[in-house]
Amino acid sequence: MTGKDTQNDGKMTGAEIVLRALKDNGVEHVFGYPGGAVLPIYDEIFQQDDIQHILVRHEQGAGHAAEGYARSTGKPGVMLVTSGPGATNAVTPLQDALMDSIPLVCLSGQVPTTLIGSDAFQECDTVGITRPCTKHNWLVKDVNDLAATIHEAFRIATTGRPGPVVVDIPKDVQFATGTYTPPAATQPKGNYKPKMQGDLERIRAAVELMAGARRPVIYSGGGVVNSGPEASQLLRELVELTGFPITSTLMGLGSYPASGKNWLGMLGMHGTYEANMAMHDCDVMVCIGARFDDRITGRLNAFSPNSKKIHIDIDPSSINKTVRVDVPILGDVGRVLEDMVRLWRATANKADKSHLNDWWENITRWRARNSLAYRPNDDVIMPQYAIQRLYEKTKHLDTYITTEVGQHQMWAAQFYGFEKPNRWMTSGGLGTMGYGLPAALGAQIAHPESLVIDIAGDASVQMTMQEMSSAVQYNAPIKIFILNNQYMGMVRQWQQLLHGNRLSNSYTEAMPDFVLMAQAFGAHGIRCEKPGDLDDAIQEMIDVKKPVLFDCRVANLANCFPMIPSGKAHNEMLLPDEATDEAVANAIDAKGRQLV
């Protein structure tokens, strides 16, 4: 049965419907891996040119690549996997996308409907397994529901608080013939309708509170990035109009430029002293598209004790979840900011910002504490120095940065300055080691001419190293900048803090030779061991038009400071110059040890 024959009477096979639905939803790239239960879809992919399929080496890689693609473009990422192990391998990126609110559409093959429940080869209960790690999921049992379900999947993934969805398609449904309905002709089912516009009275109350503030702070998050570039523009406008200091979560970096004069740096567990002190001492906090995550708040009963809190979020369950707020505003960040900026402009007497002078003086004092300081070294590359040099050598270029998870991730967040949204892709909520390399692949596929760098750790990068092979296959010149200290640095740091410096299994005794590994993949390998060679080596990495594994040998025992130890408050930070071995060993008390 060929595509042409079936189209004549308006009927298509399920597999054709899948491809057509993807195309009609604006999909240009799909990351996936074939297998028995998706062969009909792969057969259709073979017979068309509109959608490019990127073959990964492991389904987890497909998911993270699709996440990187989504985060760097603002469009949904699409992954295609087979039944059973294909679907279970997709679970990690699905949960990752759920926690970081990334629009991700996963299509999975399933055994034929007649075999479901029979423990067939490569069968698993995909909708059951992925139910808690998706925003919504579907098993399509009738080919005539397929098109509408895929359209609905894209709508749910991309609207409201974005998230991952799964459409599970049995093999017989892929072969069956049915009717295709285009997205416009498909009626949205059910009651799903996210509230976009914020309540004007609430916004007015917020503006009033902000106008009377003496020690205000804006705390922005990933929701600003998700809301689109206009939201970031409006955020910048609001900061300019109000003169308020602004800090951001890990996920929100880039919405406000790191070079902006009101920028305090990132806040939270490894945030700057000035950002955390401002959060602790403020009288009005404006939380915009962030969710009071435990990495941000520290000890909750000591979190910003004397402030009135305004919270803008599209998800009602984020409001009052962990922190009680005074003015909750439900709606899309962009729309709410638009109203907020308009109302602020309409209220007179805003040009004079002198009432904030005392507050800014305080902040200047905190800044002078220089909480990101580290001891420079002429013989060994300090990891912080490596990021600083990487930033200096790439800041004028069209650059996208991804990371793995651990110390290198925090150093990247602290030392790489982000000027624009959608340029920074990292696994914040789930903390998935192995995220960065495939995410870089996804970002590079979306932006073939840009410089895409994965700032990696030696341990994380080995979790999804196989995707180097995909990068080589698709000439995606991703740069994997490995801060190699031979340790799982963040694990070791916590063992030093909590477990008497007993470094259980956090040292990698058999480290592969990353340069030889790069060659084996057909990529380019670079090793750098001396601070003096670093600039030239980074330049070589940028110039090579191939995927690069950059083995940057850094000081083995450097730790990531400043830090709010578990169970402590924002004003009880451990600063780098105070972090002696003894201070580190005693930083966390018995109660705090139980926390994550």
Binding site: R131, N301, D315, L595
Partner: protein
Amino acid sequence: MNAHLQPTGSAYFIDKETQAVESHTLSVLVTNEPGVLARVIGLFSGRGYNIESLTVSETEHEAHLSRITIVTRGTPHVLEQIKAQLERIVPVHRVVDLTVRAVDLGSDRPVERELALIKVAGSGEARVEALRLAEAFRAKVIDATVGHFIFEITGKPSKIDQFIAIMKPMGLIEVCRTGIAALNRGPQGM
């Protein structure tokens, strides 16, 4: 079930929750589609909330709507969070905390009823006594032999608890309860 484990929402709540734990009845209107009950129950188990009673049935056939009635326990803060989390589920149409609504409407609880089938076996004095008590509780006999009765009883859960307790010494064999069905008083719907 695990009422002693206060769901906190974060590991960083070192302080004990100071609000008092309350029992609330939630009405959840959902699309009647496969897996919808699993989504609701999975939410409760995944986030550590309690379910004390659960009743599900299709209530509007044409509109494909089912009504799930859940009795849960938690502090007001947790109950508010449960409602918000339920509302995030895509096929959930509406969630109403009937207990909160009842207070708004001027009564202290919604109307709550449960049906139970109770099998009692015995002979002689105990058998006569069981029948006499059943009459006092307005329980109906729906099956009987010379050696047993099955009683059908409807009422508030507390009434059913009491009836089961006094049937114990009369030769109680087994009990089946439907869980709580609830509506609010007055002419308005949920």
